[in-house]
């Protein structure tokens, strides 16, 4: 029934449009306006450009101000302050050019609309002008590029020695987390060792792997450098922590990394945003299949003291899965067994 009504409505609409179209064609033939070089529509179109200019500008200004706190996510990392500054500086520069050029574009369209007794200016070139508007954008861009380059260089520089090493392993469709343990060094991995218990393919013949432990959430200390070592097990993924202004692809066969320093604990952020349930999140930003939109992981930023306390509570992977070390060479096995004993 509804389908029939909708069809009927559409039919009616189409026939009305058709009638209007025929009537206006006939009227324009009668008035002979189709012979004129520019009909009355020329004025309407010119005016529409001004309406459009003012209307959209008001809409943009209103929405940009109203929604500022929604789209401007709070920043929680040191480099995030810098990149956000760059972002807003670029926004100021481009925003100015955006508004200026659009005023010119639509104002010229309105101001210089066709008039029968007028003649356009014959003005084919002016090298001085061309040079000015080649050099000015070039200079502005140079400044923007150089400040961006400085920031990029610092962000991608090698992580400090004391950075807390955490491995993020992306797979369809979740993240696995591995901490480097007390030695702050991750054990080797080999994708061929992956199985149901050893989902990360950790190579336990590497002594550094023995103290590695897993965690369900990423816990990191405020104010201390953190190094994410990023891997993928099956297809491309990408680690995106929006509040940290952090993004790096996870590539099968090619470990990547990103280091940063968090500046606000989760508790502080909860207070700042007034949202008692606030969590820092990691999302995936490289399309990876049907569950791409659900690869959520929580980051909890705590004070350094809380972090040390939490760290001390964690038990190495091998303690929970002692059979993993069953086939190790004798000397390593002994170390492992001591470790398991200590952590019981």
């Amino acid at each position: 029934m509804y389908g029939f009504l909708i069809a009927l409505g559409l039919l009616l609409l189409v026939s009305i449009i058709w009638m209007v179209y025929r009537v206006q064609t006939l009227v324009s033939v009668m008035k002979g306006s189709d012979k004129k070089r520019a009909s009355g529509s020329n004025k309407v179109n010119a005016a529409m450009f001004m309406v459009f200019l003012v209307g959209t500008f008001v809409l943009m200004a209103w929405y940009s101000v109203k929604e500022f706190d929604n789209y401007q996510l709070p920043i929680a990392s040191e480099h995030g302050q810098i990149t956000d500054n760059l972002f807003w500086i670029t926004m100021a520069v481009t925003g100015f050019i955006f508004i200026l050029t659009h005023i010119l574009l639509f104002w010229f369209s309105y101001r210089y609309q066709y008039e029968e007794d007028k003649r356009a200016a014959y003005y084919p070139d002016n090298n001085k002008l061309e040079i000015i508007w080649t050099l000015v954008p070039a200079l502005v861009l140079t400044v923007l590029v150089i400040s961006g380059w400085q920031a990029w260089k610092d962000i991608t520089s090698p992580a400090p020695e004391n950075a807390h090493v955490i491995e993020l392993l992306g797979y369809q469709f979740a993240w696995d987390i591995r901490y480097a343990g007390q030695d702050n060094q991750l054990g080797r991995h080999d994708f061929r060792l992956t199985n149901a218990t050893n989902s990360r393919g950790v190579d336990f013949t590497d002594e550094k792997a023995l103290d590695d432990f897993e965690s369900n959430i990423v816990v990191i200390p405020k104010g201390e450098p953190v190094l994410f070592r990023i891997r993928a097990r099956d297809v491309l993924h990408s680690v995106f922590a929006p509040h940290m202004r952090l993004k790096m692809d996870a590539v099968p066969g090619m470990p990547t990394r990103f280091w940063f320093t968090p500046t606000k604990t989760t508790a502080e952020m909860r207070e700042e945003t007034g949202n008692p349930e606030f969590e820092y999140e990691i999302a995936c930003t490289e399309v990876c299949g049907s569950g791409h939109f659900s690869m959520r992981k929580v980051i909890e930023v705590v004070t350094p003291e809380e972090y040390q306390k939490w760290l001390a509570e964690q038990k190495p992977f091998i303690v929970q899965n002692p059979d993993l070390v069953a086939n190790l060479p004798a000397d390593l096995k002994k170390v492992a067994e001591i470790m398991i004993e200590e952590n019981k």
């Binding site: 206006q24 064609t25 520019a38 009909s39 529509s41 020329n42 179109n45 943009m60 929405y63 929604n70 996510l73 990149t83 972002f87 670029t90 481009t94 955006f98 050029t101 574009l105 210089y112 066709y114 008039e115 007028k118 356009a120 200016a121 014959y122 003005y123 084919p124 070139d125 080649t134 954008p137 861009l141 923007l144 961006g148 380059w149 920031a151 990029w152 260089k153 994708f191 393919g201 099956d234 297809v235 491309l236 995106f240 929006p242 202004r245 692809d249 590539v251 099968p252 066969g253 090619m254 349930e277 969590e279 999140e281 399309v287 299949g289 049907s290 569950g291 791409h292 939109f293 659900s294």
Partner: protein, 627 residues
């Protein structure tokens, strides 16, 4: 396909010099006439634009109305809507992928460049046809086959390719990872191979024709900017498409023959795959070596068309003709050295990121020059707002809006946050998608009279323009906010994340705007097909334009000009020249015939012109006396 009857109302048919008495098949299907091939590309492009647009409406429904019961789409989508009326997640990705592939390659490459390069090059440079009509025909039919294969892939049981239009491996290489990487991906690759062949056949032809078949007096410095843009576009395509071919071929090897160009250390579906040593990043480099120039392949023809339309309808010469050519050359060259700005966070060496950031922001300079030149062309003009002119002004607006956001994304430090968010979606849909689409529309409205000998209705054109112009901004401008807020691309829904669990209202608004914009394209469709048969008959030179195509008969036959090909004596932008009675002087008018409007340096040329004419006269007399 070619439903066009050019003979309708053709009062000049008897004048056509080169009449072949073609059969239906040689005239409309396997034709070698560049004009018919151009129309074939156009109609096929329109078909694909409808499919591509429709797919985007489907995923916009999901994004704008995530709780909607989509059961009513079952008649079309069948099994892709499950029992509870939800859209299948893999199919959502397939929709996004096919929308991108279709729009970028089939609509904006073939539909835009294919249509207008074919149609305009011989007409505007004064040639009877393309250098090789047969290759030109092959170019269309390879494109057609490519389209058939891609179209067939939409109906596969496991769906078409679904790894995004960039089809990054390993996702696109492993069927275990996503169903679309099975047969769907195979068909995608085969279709692209045919498409690349089509583009190369066309490109070689465009370049050869422009270099070799220009009429007398048509020097490079007198070419309309449209031709310059088609020429440079063809050069870019010729140099970059083979790289995509190589990338696709290696992907075929990885998928089917067990090689490891792109695959390494993969554990999927409970087993470790034997691949080692490959690099997914290699594919990204190869892909974007085409992928970035591709942006300019779709954009340059649109800018060329706009230059021509704006100059004609401002009744002014295009400002800075030489600067326009130099900036297009600059864009052409630079387009090959900026590709890795798509990969700042791909894990490639950060030093490379620095290099590509510098190169990327340099390319903004010639683009800025072009914008300022368009603005100055409008300044003190006498603007006639034909629908083509409106679409050209719209293009300039999109080119500015989308171009400026490129300055954010080209800056690697800022790109860390914005990469693969809706900010990117907003950016390229404005600067590449909508701008090029508006170029296409401007071209259709402007050259429709030349194509079909009839006029399109301008009132409907105005309505179409305003609905589309406002609609496009309402669709893509809000995406900037969503992008700054960090919403990732290609997400089926955002409710899993606290940071993105908002803007449901804005997404709904975007979806409604998208539907309205899509529906308004039917006004154009009606106008296009109705005017083809019932439109007002076109006058000889409806826009009072200078270029050569308007010197042909209203319905030019195969061979374009009934008699001799006209010679060219001046550049194509002598609009409103001081001293001349009319506000335009076609390229075929000798300088010696317009002493009242010649500029000082042109007086020199007049002498030269007279000399050449005198020599020609002697040759003619000598030939006569030999007989």
């Amino acid at each position: 396909m070619a439903v066009v009857n050019t003979a309708t109302g053709d009062s000049h048919a008897h004048e056509v010099h080169d009449e072949h008495h073609d059969s239906f098949i040689t005239k409309y299907i396997f034709t070698t006439d560049h004009k018919m091939i151009g129309k074939q590309f156009l109609v096929t492009g329109i078909f694909w634009a409808l499919i591509g647009g429709f797919l985007s409406i489907l995923f916009r429904l999901q994004l704008g109305f995530p709780d909607m019961d989509m059961s009513f789409l079952k008649p079309i989508l069948g099994g892709w809507i499950d029992e509870s009326g939800e859209l299948d997640r893999n199919f959502f990705l397939a929709l996004v992928t096919m929308h991108g592939t279709i729009m970028v390659f089939f609509v904006l490459t073939a539909g835009l460049s294919g249509t207008f390069s074919n149609f305009l090059i011989p007409l505007q440079i004064g040639a009877r046809d393309m250098a090789s009509g047969f290759m030109n025909m092959l170019s269309y039919w390879f494109f057609f086959v490519s389209g058939l294969i891609m179209f067939a892939s939409l109906f596969l049981e496991k769906g078409p390719a679904g790894g995004g239009w960039v089809v990054y491996p390993p996702l696109s290489a492993l069927e275990q990872a996503i169903p679309g990487s099975g047969m769907g991906m195979t068909l995608w690759l085969i279709a692209m191979v045919f498409f690349i062949a089509s583009t190369l056949l066309g490109g070689i032809n465009y370049i050869t024709t422009i270099i070799n078949l220009r009429t007398k007096g048509m020097t490079f410095a007198r070419l309309p900017l449209t031709i310059w843009s088609f020429f440079l576009t063809a050069v870019i395509g010729l140099l970059s498409f083979p790289v995509l071919f190589a990338a696709a071929l290696l992907l075929v090897f990885d998928r089917s023959f067990g090689t490891s160009f792109y695959l390494a250390d993969i554990y999927i579906g409970g087993e470790a795959l034997p691949h080692t040593g490959g690099s997914p990043v290699l594919y990204q480099h190869l892909f974007w070596f085409l992928g970035h120039p591709e942006v300019y392949i779709v954009l340059l023809p649109a800018l060329g068309i706009t230059s021509e339309v704006i100059a004609t309808n401002s009744r002014k010469p295009i400002f800075g003709y030489k600067a326009m050519i130099i900036s297009m050359l600059g864009i052409t060259i630079l387009s090959f050295v900026v590709w890795a700005h798509h990969m700042f966070v791909s894990g490639m060496n950060p030093f490379l990121g620095s290099v590509f950031m510098f190169l990327t922001l340099i390319i903004a300079v010639p683009s800025a020059v072009k914008v300022f030149n368009y603005l100055t062309t409008l300044w003190r003009g006498n603007l006639i707002f034909t629908p083509a002119m409106l679409f050209s002004i719209g293009l300039v607006s999109f080119f500015i809006s989308g171009g400026l956001t490129g300055i954010f994304l080209g800056n690697s430090a800022i790109d860390i946050q914005l990469h693969d968010t809706y900010f990117v979606v907003a950016h390229f849909h404005l600067v590449m998608g909508s701008a090029s689409f508006f170029g296409l529309m401007a071209g259709v409205y402007h050259w429709f009279p030349k194509m079909f000998g009839r006029m399109m209705d301008s009132k409907l054109g105005y309505i179409h323009f305003w609905l589309t112009f406002i609609g496009v901004y309402m669709v893509f401008f809000p995406m900037h906010y969503i992008g700054i807020a960090g919403f990732p691309r290609r997400y089926y829904s955002w409710t899993n994340f606290d940071f993105a669990n908002m803007y449901t209202d804005l997404n709904m608004f975007v979806s409604i705007a998208a539907i309205v914009t899509f529906v308004s394209q039917f006004i154009f469709l009606f106008n296009f097909f109705y005017s083809m048969y019932k439109g007002r008959k076109a006058p000889h030179n409806p826009w009072r334009s200078n270029t050569l195509e308007w010197t042909t008969p209203i319905n030019p036959g195969h061979g374009n000009w009934p008699g001799e090909i006209p010679s060219v004596y001046r550049w194509p932008y002598d609009y409103s020249k001081p001293g001349s009675a009319e506000d335009f002087i076609p390229q075929t008018v000798p300088l010696s015939a317009t002493p009242e409007s010649n500029l000082p340096h042109e007086e020199e040329l007049v002498k030269l012109e007279k000399q050449i004419m005198a020599e020609e006269g002697q040759v003619l007399v000598a030939n006569e006396s030999k007989k």
